[in-house]
């Protein structure tokens, strides 16, 4: 512990963070941009898969549904490093999908994070739609909407809760480091994101730098959440 104590260290790191941002250091901006790109892409892809999946799990009865619900719920606790390892083995040149040369690229990182985010969004989507169904079940039956057709109707109706679900997914993606470290390789200027950069600085013992980067990451995530909240406010106002 330096002479300033922990509050001093944190204050110093916060100041460093602001200085880094103000200087618009191109390497830092590149890292921030890549973090956003990978995590947002993974969240969007996961939402595309998970929102309808969650709604279907709430709506339809089919053989194996119970097992699938269990898998989705358990999937929320998937250890990122295990997912990273499995995706690595999949994408490795010696693996089944090696010919595409996707390992150590941002695409591999998106794949790994999509796997991590999908169960969270699916579980929350299922819960949101289940809650809606209490109100809507008979009306949907009256209209003659079969489960598959009812999915888009219910997803739109649950849009605000689903937006929160997507933010939860994004949070998970933006925060994780275990998976993208393995499948991305933390290559400077290519697959280095905020979290892997923080891990690197920590491993170099540059704790102040790491903490500063941590503050920048917090700011970025906060900004995304603020933007989402703003969009929700606009959407609500437009609906009268």
């Amino acid at each position: 512990m330096g002479p300033l104590g922990i509050s001093g260290e944190i204050g110093e790191a916060a100041a460093t963070a602001l200085r880094l941002l103000a200087s618009a250091d191109p390497e830092l901006l590149g890292i921030v941009a890549l973090s956003l790109q990978v995590s947002l892409a993974a969240t969007a892809l996961a939402a595309l898969l998970a929102l309808p999946l969650g709604a279907l799990l709430a709506l339809a009865r089919f053989p194996g549904r119970g097992a699938l619900v269990l898998l989705v719920n358990a999937g929320m606790g998937l250890p990122p490093v295990v997912v990273g390892l499995l995706v690595y083995l999949l994408l490795s040149r010696s693996g089944p999908l090696g010919e595409y040369g996707l390992l150590f690229t941002p695409t591999a990182m998106v794949i790994a994070q999509t796997i991590l985010v999908t169960p969270i969004v699916a579980a929350l989507s299922r819960q949101a739609v289940t809650d809606l169904l209490e109100d809507y079940r008979e009306h949907l039956a009256s209209l003659g909407l079969r489960p598959l057709a009812a999915v888009p109707v219910l997803l739109v109706d649950a849009r605000f809760r689903l937006a929160t679900a997507c933010l939860a997914g994004f949070g998970r993606a933006a925060a994780e480091v275990g998976a993208i470290l393995i499948v991305g390789g933390n290559i400077r200027g290519h697959t280095r994101t905020m979290t892997t950069a923080i891990a690197l600085e920590t491993s170099k013992g540059a704790l102040a730098q790491a903490l500063a980067l941590g503050f920048v990451l917090l700011l970025v995530v906060l900004s995304v959440n603020l933007a989402a909240a703003g969009l929700q406010r606009v959407a609500r106002r437009l609906e009268g």
Binding site: A41, S94, G205
Partner: protein
């Protein structure tokens, strides 16, 4: 309609992350954290890129993992510092054209107050003193080159530290940086490569206690991943890198790398002297 918009956005974001189709010439180098964290690559690779137009992407992980990456064909070049593993790699047919590149050394660091009395020129004697005093010692514990050298030193001292009991010997199972963080936090002794130590910022009360012992020399070898085994390897560019690294310019770049005024790596390639020079 809103859902279509989301789908288009998602696919656009994903598409933007797809690797650019070979617009630039790049090779992938699997290496260890000691070379990356010390800043050596940041110093020498731009010189290579300027000279040849080839960009080198570095994946820096533990020695074991680097070798595994190369074995699977996920890298074009391997640069590590554990000769037995390197020779086994080539013997098994995964690599060709192994060359000496450079060497650095290890140092034994520990609390400046040195409660075990380890300070001196002899690494093996230092370890014996640490074991006798049961002073806290952090090992990398990850089968890395550093870890294997540490084990050889304990063997030379005739000590089995893990079996000795008493909890003074801790296996971190981590990279060099994390291990040094632990040692700094616990005021413990540990073995570190000079490159990582020189650029390590969280030293707290640690200092160098043993250096210069010939048993602490750490040679690095560079190997081309065997294109016969993995046809997709970019053999031409990778060989260009090996030639440059072990040639006069690369060796000069390595030797000119300084941290805090100190030279960290000693160029050792056979071709480092320019012809006639």
């Amino acid at each position: 309609m809103r859902l279509h918009g989301l789908a288009v956005l998602a696919l656009a974001l994903v598409a933007a992350t797809l690797p650019a189709r070979a617009a630039e010439r790049t090779i992938l180098l699997a290496s260890t954290t000691s070379t990356e964290n010390s800043g050596l690559f940041a110093h020498i690779l731009p010189v290579f890129e300027t000279a040849t137009g080839i960009r080198v992407k570095v994946v820096a992980v533990g020695t074991g993992q680097a070798i595994e990456i190369a074995r699977r064909g996920d890298a074009d070049v391997l640069l590590v510092h554990h000769r037995p593993s390197e020779e086994a790699f080539v013997a098994a047919g995964f690599g060709v054209d192994r060359r000496e590149v450079m060497a650095n050394d290890f140092v034994l660091v520990g609390p400046r107050a040195d409660p075990a009395g380890a300070k001196g020129p002899d690494a093996v004697a230092a370890l014996a003193a640490i074991a006798a005093a049961r002073a806290p010692f952090v090992s990398r514990g990850d089968e890395s080159g550093t870890h294997q050298l540490e084990r050889e030193l304990w063997r030379a001292a005739g000590i089995e530290p893990a079996a000795a009991g008493g909890g003074w010997y801790r296996e971190a199972g981590s990279g060099m940086g994390a291990t040094l963080n632990m040692a700094a936090g616990m005021a413990a002794y540990t073995l570190a490569d000079r490159g990582t130590w020189a650029s390590f910022a969280n030293r707290r009360d640690l200092g160098i206690l043993v250096e210069g012992d010939p048993r602490l020399v750490n040679p690095y070898g560079v190997i081309l991943v065997n294109p016969a085994r993995h046809p997709h390897v970019k053999a031409a560019e990778a060989r260009a890198f090996l030639d440059w690294l072990t040639g006069p310019e690369g060796q000069e770049a390595i030797g000119s790398f300084r941290v805090g005024g100190e030279q960290l790596f000693r160029p050792t390639a056979a071709g480092r002297e320019a012809p006639g020079g």
